[in-house]
Symmetry: C2
Subunit: 82 residues, 2 copies
């Protein structure tokens, strides 16, 4: 299944509890779009958040994030890894 | 040890072999700065590359990338994960 890196901006001050809550909101509904969110990283100072996922396509990733209340600014396919 | 997400732009057309070569160039010298690169993801179409690492600080991450020939555009601390 293709992998995706999505990027959120404006999440200044995000806490471990806030990120976990957002991540769990994705996990709760991700199967409805065949998405599997693997991990999320956040920088509270810059407000940046990155999520890595496996999904049928980028639109499916975005649909889950939108429905969970936190639309991504960008969703990139990442077919190359090392 | 703190974690960092660094971002490279302009890597259009990067191949699996090219990313592996770049990643291995980091790994070969990372211990000199106490850095441990964990994983890299690339999107050949947009030219974006992301690397996750553990390091003493962001400057150490950048020094390794610079010496390996691929300066990052940005290095963010990611103290929050889920």
């Amino acid at each position: 299944m293709p992998k995706f890196m999505d990027v959120h901006t404006g999440m200044h001050g995000i806490t471990p509890e806030g990120l976990l809550e957002a991540h769990n909101a994705d996990l709760a509904i991700q199967s409805e779009e065949g998405v599997s969110f693997e991990h999320a990283w956040a920088d509270p100072e810059s407000g940046m958040v990155w999520c890595i996922s496996e999904a049928p396509d980028a639109a499916a990733v975005q649909r889950i994030h939108e429905r969970a209340g936190h639309r991504a600014d960008q969703v990139f396919p990442v077919p190359v890894e090392a």
